[in-house]
């Protein structure tokens, strides 16, 4: 029995630690070889670590507008993402509901959505800056929010619509037999039944908002991980590009995991 427990432990260790470490090792080796051979400008892993150390060891330091600890930058970025994301949900969820409920609404807006959906954040951002040009200094921030919101709301819109359409007719029949009012039907039947789909949309939307932030900060020069990355590229400190990429990836991963946790709680409903 004890040996069975041990076996289980070993298997988990191999699955969760050893095997992922092998993947990491392979990338580090390829990275080192590349920086030593064909990509001379690419800093090696050790050089990257040395140059990144002050930003990682003192993650919340503030030495200047564009010279701050990496987590401090991340925090700025997260705040911006949160605002844009909330706007996306507040606009996207009702649109999704209307699409799911009304065939006419779908016929009017679905083609438009299908055309706007694949447009890249890099294309939206200039439009955002133009739209909020009257905001003066703040135009960058508003433009970035606009871009995050419009790029990240589509998964929420589409998943909510699918969810509303998938509500079993039986549930709606219960509402009809009980003569529930429209509002009551919405809050007691439609909304809870759609929730699992909505949260799938919310998770995908969060992933996209985080993807967009970097592009938005790069072009507007707002302080944040993306802004930092772009600035360090311009100042030829390539180690910090890699540091930023790693941080962006890890944060994105954590956000996705957190949302999956929330999502799975609703999936069981």
């Amino acid at each position: 029995m004890n040996s069975q427990k041990f076996d289980h432990f070993v298997r988990r260790f191999v699955d969760l630690i050893l095997l992922p470490c092998i993947g990491l090792g392979i990338v580090l080796v390829l990275w080192s070889i590349s920086s030593a051979t064909w990509a001379k400008e690419l800093p090696s892993p050790t050089k990257t670590w040395e140059a990144s150390k002050p930003y990682v060891v003192e993650p919340f330091a503030k030495r200047g507008e564009m010279d701050q600890g990496i987590l401090r930058f991340t925090w700025y970025s997260l705040q911006l993402v949160a605002k844009g994301y909330v706007i996306a949900l507040l606009i996207g969820t009702p649109i999704g509901f209307f699409l799911g409920l009304s065939k006419t609404f779908t016929k009017i807006f679905d083609p438009l959505i299908q055309i706007l959906r694949p447009v890249s954040p890099l294309a939206w951002l200039p439009l955002g800056l133009v739209l909020f040009i009257s905001m003066g200094k703040e135009a960058g921030t508003y433009g970035a929010l606009f871009t995050i919101a419009i790029c990240s709301m589509w998964p929420t819109v589409l998943n909510t619509a699918v969810g509303v359409r998938a509500v079993p007719q039986d549930y709606l029949n219960v509402g009809r037999v009980l003569k529930l009012s429209r509002w009551k039907t919405l809050t007691t039947i439609l909304l809870p039944a759609t929730l699992p789909y909505m949260f799938t949309g919310f998770r995908l939307s969060l992933g996209i908002s985080w993807l967009v932030i970097v592009a938005a900060e790069m072009l507007t020069g707002t302080p944040g991980v993306g802004g930092f990355l772009w600035q360090e590229y311009n100042s030829l400190i390539y180690e910090h590009i890699i540091l930023s990429i790693i941080v962006i990836g890890v944060v994105g991963f954590i956000l996705d995991r957190l949302m999956s946790l929330v999502e799975s709680r609703f999936k069981t409903a």
Binding site: N173, L178, K179
Partner: protein, 290 residues
């Protein structure tokens, strides 16, 4: 006595890619107040379709349904429906599912009174201990019980049950049939149950309405079931009339359901020829499993 529910010349036509399909045609039926009617017929003949038109959940293509003097145009809590699948709202507890209806119907009652009504019906169907469990955690039989409690708690004029026990094991089925009969007798409802099960129809109903096969399904025959109430399964099984009635229903399903009747079945006398002993044994052989 005038009829409580009157279905006249009911038609249901579905649009299909191959043109309109008339599923139910010239369906006529009168139900007295307090009567228990069973509707049997082959799968897909249109039993659920008829039931949902009475419930007001499906549009009536032609003809009409009059329930205690008023034409049926929409669904409403005066007709409690127990659906073919229990379809409780899975994110609510059993209690909340019943409460949803109680709150709608007894909106003038106090919160305490409403709670008591819900609890009363839930304990009647045997969910007294499990009423605060989420309905997604209930077993199939418990869900079905809750569905019955939900329908009864509305205190409807009429109960419409669509194969409510179809998915249950025999033991639970028998128990719930008794719960249903008990509630029906206590509250003096009018009830219509759709079923595949000949024995269930005979145990529960005052009249068994047999539907012909679809498309263009209609009332093929009606059998009066005059066993005294309260009924007792064991006594029923000892009654020769039971087997006669059973044979009548099975013969209909096996042979006569394929033909539309030439004249309305409404007024036919309950013809129940006594089966021969050989026929009986054959019956038991093939239907022992149902």
């Amino acid at each position: 006595m005038s009829s409580f529910l009157e279905i006249s010349q009911l038609h249901k036509t579905f649009p299909t890619p191959k043109g309109p399909l008339t599923v139910v045609e010239d369906f006529n039926l009168k139900i007295r107040k307090g009567e228990f009617i069973a509707l049997i017929g082959h799968s897909g003949c249109g039993k659920s379709t008829v039931l949902s038109m009475i419930a007001g959940l499906a549009d009536i293509s032609e003809g009409g349904i009059i329930l205690s003097g008023k034409e049926v145009t929409d669904a409403g809590p005066d007709r409690g429906v127990v659906f073919q699948s229990p379809c409780l709202l899975p994110w609510m507890t059993a209690f909340e599912n019943v409460m949803l209806g109680v709150n709608q119907v007894y909106y003038t009652a106090s919160k305490l009174e409403r709670t008591q009504i819900a609890e009363y019906y839930l304990s009647l169907v045997g969910l007294g201990d499990a009423m605060h469990k989420r309905s997604s955690e209930l077993s199939q039989g418990m869900k079905q019980r809750c569905g019955i409690a939900r329908a009864f708690a509305l205190s409807p004029k009429m109960l419409l049950l669509d194969e409510p026990f179809g998915m249950l094991d025999n033991l639970t089925k028998m128990e719930l049939q008794d719960v249903l009969l008990d509630l029906w007798q206590r509250d003096q409802k009018t009830a219509l149950i759709v079923t595949h099960d000949v024995d269930e129809a005979l145990y529960l109903a005052d009249r068994v309405v047999m539907m012909t096969d679809g498309p263009n399904a209609t009332v093929g025959d009606i059998l009066e079931v005059n066993f005294p109430r309260p009924r007792n399964r064991k006594q029923l099984l000892e009654d020769p009339a039971y087997y006669a009635a059973r044979e009548h229903l099975i013969t209909f399903l096996e042979e006569r359901s394929h033909h539309r009747p030439h004249r309305p079945a409404q007024d036919r006398p309950p013809a129940a020829p006594a089966p021969s002993a050989g026929g009986l044994r054959k019956l038991f052989g093939s239907f022992a499993s149902t």
